[in-house]
Symmetry: C2
């Protein structure tokens, strides 16, 4: 009876949910089965869990007698986990039903449901606030009652609150504190039916950000593959689909690209066995029921394929690429994706620090990705210099491909007066490349993931230009003098107009630069190894980490094959290794010790209790339940220090979860220990 995360990407996760009737791989789609009539054997299509309606069984005398006698698994002939809904759906349709919360919960327990549901009130979107508040009160009361009544059955508790974000958050926080097993997000079907995906994003994010990380979330009534990827990226784990059969009854094919009516088809829409062995004419010539069965099969095939693609993309670290593709299929989904940008700060906390795949820019929406926000925040960890030289893009990694950059440059005095001695510019000089989408890339860290592992089109859109201009300006403020390649001014439309002083320019969308033309000879593109390792350490672990790890003379060992930095020693002692795939440091014992003694508690730390202390020292991995504290800013896939309650360093390793999750979870691994015995 637990939930364990296996892989993460954005706020999405793949995991395992354990129930009395077996394990469920998440994200999962739960086909809705009518308890009285079953048309398809959904197991064959990949269903590991199904959902059925307890209220229908409760109300129908025959079904009720039968299910009480033989149990729900036999009744609907499904041996795996079964979720039951409580009648809330009927409540939302008919306004009133004749069963109370206690009765329906006890009934679900009696029939052997794996995951039951209390009788929440599904308040529709856009109602008056008063109604939403009143109904939410009842929903929360019934959740509390359910918590008390319920025996061993796993339980859903549904987040309600209409389209009031604070009510959704409040509900999520309240029921989230009660340790239910699954948290559905309810009453969103009207939003999806009217393509109000922008509002859906707000409702889901308002809920998810207050729900515990350690339990799966179910986006109730979401059965169209168009929305699965976006919902998973926001942290949803479970979907249910009656749509596969309802759409089929109406001769409609579901696709991640939208819905297609049989009447309009000249070709079958997908690669599934139904689509590759029939033509639209075949189907139109069939009797209604045979046709319905085939279309339902297609709908299941395509829906489960989409779930598989999503799981794969989480493992690959390309979930946002999939989301950005899927959200292009309808302008309202694209609007929702654009709206998601305002939640980047939250998503960033969950997004892994390193991934298996490159960052692909798919349009202005990619500028809202966590990776970019994280980078722009982390470059502030590198100590500033006095002068800055901004270089144009080249192939990546820049430091290997820029070589000598000739051409026109411009000089901008950010602070102070004109320079008396131009030679002075070359002292204390920071080299950085300006490019889409990471804006400013200090050359020391240009091989760190994803700064070298990303691609964007050369033809640059206006949002990217604006974004880069703004971020570049912010970065420039840290320096006294900035030398800018003319190519950058060209590419990013940085118009160099000399305006009379005192002219009002603040309302302009583009800051007007006052630049002096400055002809440079060949620029030496050169970063010292010593500076490189120090900057990477700062960028990775926090300001000061470079000095902490490599305070004195170090021996830098390079790969004979690639010429890349591999190991950093002091004397014969290995401090850290720079991983070839993503150019971040993997600590060795000495590195861990140095970091630990120089970075203040709780920075970079995961604190385990005394029970786990001896196991960690042996190099065993750290399970979440043994963690008593941690640096909340830890991201998953980062190098972390493992300490005991006295802040003694006992091991170090790689985080599997992020800070919030490490604290919230009681199951599964939190840190994969590299070495103990310190």
């Amino acid at each position: 009876m637990n939930f364990e995360i296996k892989h993460k990407d954005a706020m999405g996760r793949t995991g395992i949910l354990t129930t009395p009737h077996g394990m469920i791989k998440t994200p999962a789609l739960m086909p809705v089965i009518h308890p009285g009539k079953q048309t398809l054997d959904v197991k064959k299509f990949g269903a590991e869990v199904v959902i059925t309606n307890a209220y229908i069984m409760y109300k129908n005398d025959d079904l009720r007698a039968k299910v009480l006698e033989e149990g729900v698994h036999k009744l609907i002939n499904f041996p795996g986990p079964i979720v039951t809904d409580s009648g809330s759906f009927q409540l939302s349709l008919y306004g009133d039903i004749d069963v109370n919360n206690k009765e329906i919960i006890e009934f679900q327990e009696l029939i052997g449901t794996d995951i039951g549901t209390s009788l929440d009130i599904p308040t529709p979107p856009f109602v008056k606030r008063e109604r939403a508040e009143k109904e939410l009160e009842i929903t929360i009361e019934r959740a509390k009652e359910a918590f008390e009544i319920n025996g061993d059955m796993m339980m859903n508790s549904v987040v309600q609150g209409s389209t009031f974000h604070d009510l959704r958050s409040k509900c999520a926080e309240t029921i989230g504190a009660m340790e239910f097993d699954v948290y559905p997000i309810g009453a969103v079907v009207p939003l999806m039916e009217s393509y109000r995906y922008t509002e859906l994003v707000d409702v889901v994010m308002a809920s998810v950000k207050k729900l515990p990380d350690s339990q799966p979330r179910h986006l109730m009534g979401a059965g169209h593959p168009m929305v699965f990827a976006l919902a998973v990226a926001m942290g949803c784990d479970l979907f249910d689909s009656a749509a596969y059969i309802l759409y089929a009854q109406d001769d409609r094919f579901m696709m991640p690209r939208g819905t297609f009516k049989l009447a309009n088809l000249v070709e079958m829409p997908c690669s599934c066995s139904v689509c590759s062995t029939h033509t639209p004419e075949d189907l139109r010539a069939m009797n209604k029921n045979d046709r319905m069965i085939l279309i339902a099969q297609h709908n299941l095939n395509i829906s489960f394929a989409e779930i598989r693609k999503i799981r794969q993309s989480i493992v690959d670290g390309s979930l946002m690429e999939l989301v950005e593709q899927r959200c292009r299929v309808h302008p309202y989904l694209l609007d929702a994706l654009r709206n998601l940008k305002k939640y980047t700060a939250i998503i960033e906390e969950y997004d892994p620090a390193s991934k298996n795949s490159a960052f692909f820019y798919s349009g202005p929406e990619s500028l809202g990705r966590s990776e970019i926000q994280r980078h722009l925040s982390r470059i502030n960890r590198i100590p500033p210099k006095r002068n800055l030289l901004l270089l144009p893009r080249s192939r990546k990694p820049y430091s290997k491909n820029l070589h000598d950059e000739f051409g026109k440059f411009y000089l901008k005095h950010v602070k102070g007066d004109s320079l008396s001695d131009p030679q002075d510019l070359w002292d204390d000089l920071q080299l950085a490349v300006v490019d889409v989408p990471f804006a400013v890339i200090p050359l020391e860290i240009d091989e760190v993931y994803p700064l070298a592992q990303n691609e964007a089109p050369i033809i640059t859109d206006e949002d990217a230009k604006k974004f880069v201009r703004e971020e570049m300006e912010k970065y420039m403020e840290r320096f006294d003098n900035v030398i800018i390649s003319a190519k950058i001014l060209d590419r990013f439309n940085m118009y160099t107009i000399e305006l009379d002083s005192g002219n009002e320019t603040s309302k302009h969308p583009i800051r007007v630069y006052s630049l002096e033309e400055y002809e440079l000879d060949a620029v030496k593109i050169d970063v010292e190894d010593r500076e490189k390792i120090s900057s990477i350490a700062d960028y990775q672990f926090g300001m000061g980490a470079g000095k902490a790890l490599f305070p004195g003379d170090v021996k830098i060992v390079k790969s004979r094959k690639t010429g890349k930095i591999r190991h950093i020693y002091e004397g014969e002692t290995l401090i850290a290794t720079l991983r070839a795939t993503d150019s971040v440091f993997v600590l060795d014992r000495e590195g861990a010790r140095r970091l630990h003694s120089n970075m203040e508690y709780p920075k970079n730390r995961v604190v385990v209790n005394t029970d786990a202390d001896p196991f960690a020292r042996e190099g065993k991995s750290i399970f979440a339940k043994f963690v008593i504290d941690c640096d909340i800013n830890i991201r998953s896939n980062e190098e972390v220090l493992i300490v005991n309650e006295k802040d003694e360093l006992i091991a170090f390793g790689k985080s599997i979860l992020c800070g919030h999750e490490i604290m919230d979870f009681n199951t599964g691994q939190a840190v994969k220990t590299r070495k103990g015995g310190i």
Copy 2:
């Protein structure tokens, strides 16, 4: 032995290619079959045509004897159309082969090939110009020789010219004039292998724009479903794929989303029968050959499914939506799509005037679509007024949803001095809405397709803002005074800074407006029916059409159900009907007569020869071969006049093809006649 177009979208078309061994639905994928070894029965996956290599058969003594005896259809056990390649591929691999042009053409004819190929020189991309020119000369010479040698066999003639656009165009023009049956575009595999899709777009467009419209084009070596949609939108009809088997040998799954290596898979990538009945572990545990067969099956399933989706999207009129989705899967494909924008003027000539589906905005790239360019050109057909009132967006159609628009407005004097009498603004006033992506929509035509049949996100990207600002400015130049809603200035970042006169602003990316604040009371959103029908006619048929069709008093009959304008009469005579689905006029006899006598030759006309004259008068549809002249500016799906050689109006109807195609085709319908007997 002909090619006929059935449906069109962008430069893409669905069609039927007739060969001695049957018909091929295009766009088509032709699996490559090795003449000596066949691994899969490709018919089962949807192959209607295959391609095999004549040179391999020619060189291998056993195969040669066998194929000469029994024919190529029996040898490779494929009863349908077979295309043979000539050995050019081997030439490109090994640099030299020992067969000449004449020998290989005669051999192909002897073995019963349906479509044979001459021995062109596949010049790779990015060679020196001298080499490209020299090799192209040989290619063209051999094409000429082939044309002379060849008997009844249908023939390919390959466009070469490396990455020199003028050479590609020259080659296309030269061989295009020789009436071959299929025009492959050759030597592009190195571009695709290195993801140089931007250069691929230039090469294909340089070729296609000079090739005859009336023959299919084959993008040689394009076998990855990632590029099919883009290539079809540029006018390619045929693809060949050895990739399905080559990728399978290397454990790689092809998807429209990219290529996936079995080693990295945790889930199967699609909904096909292979993917829904196996797991990656199953495959990894198999012996290499069994696994290869299954992956090849997947590759065929997904490739043919993609071809089906493309065909469907052409019929639906949503091909560019599909292309814009597909091009998001890799930043270099996105770059190619952005590069395609420079060919909008060419694509617009082929793009149908009306489509079955709405225009969906998927990002800044959608601003390059034909529909927008066409609209912005056609609004100039509506006679200008003196004053302009620009209104913000509402739900569509605007004229039904804007109602009374209150709020702040600004007044801009485009020409002349300040206004002495503000009341003067309300005379001769054009109302127009400003919105993404069509920029300026005069209210009279706001229901004409696709001005009401489009969706864009509310959160507006910077490219759209810039585009709308620029187009709005151009439109404003036609008026003396412009009144702009403050909401427009807000949404499109039109900063209203008062600058001292004489200040240099031309280098600014944004024009600085000099506007006077002007408080308006409620604005009357009202368009007179009379103006509406006149403007629609101008917009649809050209400036002056409104006056020509509706010069005097007309009777406007509206739908009792929807209140929309339906029929326009003068007295009892029906002039034209406004079609409900796209709000364009369908002429009646009187309308056709009026248009004909007022619009100068050859405007709106398709001219048929004397043979066809009597059939057209009877209302029979017009086949392309009877057309001797036409208005080259006719788009497909437009209302056109049918005249005889003396420019006597004999019928009218709807164009199936565009002007260029009507002139070039000798097969199939050009115009679906509505009525003859004039």
